[in-house]
């Protein structure tokens, strides 16, 4: 296997009874890459992400994430990835510091390192005044940044971002992507889903899932050229319009 490949998936199949949620997915993601994982509602994205995060066992296929086997080393995978979603990321009634301590503990960071990294994180985000205040008091933009930083507290190889910017104002959304670029520049691999098609353009490469299959996988510019489209929105609509699933 190529040394720079951090996610390797070959012929991944996941069935629930007779329903094929993931139908023979094959793709690789390189180190430091920003990989956009797009698809219509119900296309099978969430199932695939759960498998890649070690939360779900695949039915068949070869899955290596951060160097670990997707069947036998799922705990190792969990320790080497970070996960953030807009729907659930922080406990609103815990303070900033308590959230950091909780998640760092879950991710297996030692007590001593938690102190050190928490202080650094709070300083970098300029959250000193909010350290002992509940997360519920933070403006949404800050919550997003904090959630992202918390998911990175154990310095994971890969960070999975599941619709991280849903409902967020346009400026905060862009500031968030600047953080994603910083993380990728520092060598973290970013695996991201979004319904904002302008954000698809920010990715190095994109896959588009329709009805459990990957129907397109390339750079945004190559996909736009292939589908003779002005924007990723057009590419997505051309591909996803024919979905049979409801």
């Amino acid at each position: 296997m190529d040394n720079n490949v951090v996610i390797s998936v070959k012929n991944l199949v996941k069935k629930f009874g007779s329903f094929v949620a993931n139908d023979s997915l094959t793709f690789e993601v390189g180190s430091g890459e920003i990989f956009g994982f797009l698809g219509a509602n119900g296309a099978g994205k969430t199932t695939a992400i759960r498998i890649l995060c070690g939360l779900l066992e695949p039915t068949s296929g070869d899955i290596i994430v951060a160097g670990f086997n997707g069947y036998t080393q799922r705990d190792k995978i969990k320790a080497n990835i970070g996960y953030m979603s807009q729907k659930f990321s922080l406990y609103e009634d815990l303070t900033v510091w308590e959230n950091i301590r909780l998640f760092a503990g879950i991710y297996g960071v030692s007590r001593k390192l938690i102190q050190e990294r928490a202080n650094l994180l709070i300083e970098n985000l300029g959250l000193e005044d909010y350290r002992n205040r509940p997360v519920a008091d933070l403006p949404l933009g800050w919550k997003q940044k904090l959630a992202f930083s918390v998911a990175m507290i154990h310095k994971p190889t890969i960070i999975f971002l599941d619709e991280p910017t849903g409902g967020v104002d346009p400026i905060t959304r862009r500031r968030f992507w600047e953080m994603i670029y910083e993380a990728a520049d520092a060598g973290t691999t970013v695996f991201v889903t979004t319904h904002y098609m302008d954000e698809a353009e920010y990715c190095n490469r994109i896959s588009i899932m329709v009805d459990g299959k990957i129907v397109a996988l390339d750079t945004p510019s190559a996909l736009k050229a292939e589908y003779n489209a002005e924007s990723m929105d057009e590419v997505f609509v051309k591909l996803a319009r024919n979905s049979q699933r409801v």
């Binding site: 509602n41 409902g167 346009p170 910083e182």
Partner: protein
């Protein structure tokens, strides 16, 4: 409207014309849901008043509930009732039948019909949204209040949904629809841009774009993040943000040429760029208004 110390709406004033498709555009926490819930007579405002078709949302709440169709942001139908049962239930609550107003929902319901016997909780996101719209329409409301109907829905279903709304507009139904997606704003007759409980601007999408106060450049580059960093370090540039495959740079009117921007980026080691002057989108306008508002608050 206040919740304890939090002022969710700070003196919102606006009027929607009969038959208009009116958009409330703003991010989470802007006050969109509070405003819609007040209009739906589900919340009592802390101050001010609101009327719809002459009925006061507080005093005449019973009349309001007859004339309004409301689609809440969170899926609120009965998950364990089937598609058909949900529809029949909402029809009977409003003292009507599915058959009586079927024409109004026909186009939407046809897409749902193959799943008429499926529990609502087992539908996909796009189908749930279509069912919720059908249920909100079944009593033939004069006014439709739609709270973020397209949030979390994929780009294809979003487009379908807006096609449905335009059809309903032809039926003469007045619609107030909220969304965090700026690109949907262009589909409305007029939009209110809303942020932190304040309405920033109410105009037609075209007027909003026309009133944009800066020159805007689109910069294509392989290193958008480096472009942004360089531009932000120089005070001649108003703002610079990622924007699809470009970086959008705004500057004071006629304050700097394309050539000068190109030269500046070259001096900062950023080569192979393409710059052109572009027209703003609604999103550019919203961001500019947001920045202006934040600046005046500080």
């Amino acid at each position: 409207m206040s919740y304890g110390q939090t002022r969710a709406l700070k003196g919102a004033t606006f009027a929607v014309d009969e038959g208009e498709l009116f958009g409330l555009i703003g991010p989470d926490g802007a006050g969109k849901t509070t405003l819609i819930r007040i209009l739906a007579s589900l919340l009592v405002p802390s101050g001010g008043s609101a009327t719809m078709c002459g009925a006061d949302v507080v005093r005449d709440y019973q009349a309001i509930r007859q004339m309004v169709g409301y689609m809440p942001g969170r899926f609120s139908l009965y998950q364990d009732l089937t598609v058909r049962e949900n529809l029949e239930f909402f029809a009977s609550v409003f003292g009507t039948t599915v058959e009586q107003n079927y024409r109004l929902i026909e186009d939407i319901y046809k897409m749902l019909e193959p799943f008429a016997n499926r529990p609502a909780g087992k539908l996909s996101g796009g189908m749930k949204q279509k069912l919720a719209l059908s249920c909100a329409l079944i009593h033939k409301p004069k006014v439709l209040l739609l709270d973020e109907p397209t949030t979390g829905v994929d780009a294809v279903s979003r487009k379908e949904f807006w096609t449905m709304l335009r059809k309903l507009k032809n039926e003469g139904i007045t619609m107030l629809v909220s969304t965090p997606y700026m690109d949907e704003a262009a589909q409305c007759d007029r939009i209110a841009l809303i942020q932190n409980g304040d309405i920033l601007q109410i105009e037609s999408p075209k007027q909003i774009v026309d009133s944009y106060a800066y020159d805007l450049f689109g910069i294509e580059s392989k290193r958008p993040n480096a472009v942004i960093k360089a531009l932000r370090a120089d005070s001649r540039f108003q703002s610079s943000f990622l924007f699809g495959h470009e970086v959008h740079l705004s500057v004071e009117r006629e304050s700097i040429s394309i050539g000068a921007v190109e030269q500046f980026l070259l001096e900062n080691g950023i080569t192979s760029i393409a710059i052109k002057q572009i027209s703003p989108t609604i999103e550019d306008c919203f961001m500019s208004l947001m920045e202006h508002q934040n600046a005046t608050h500080i």
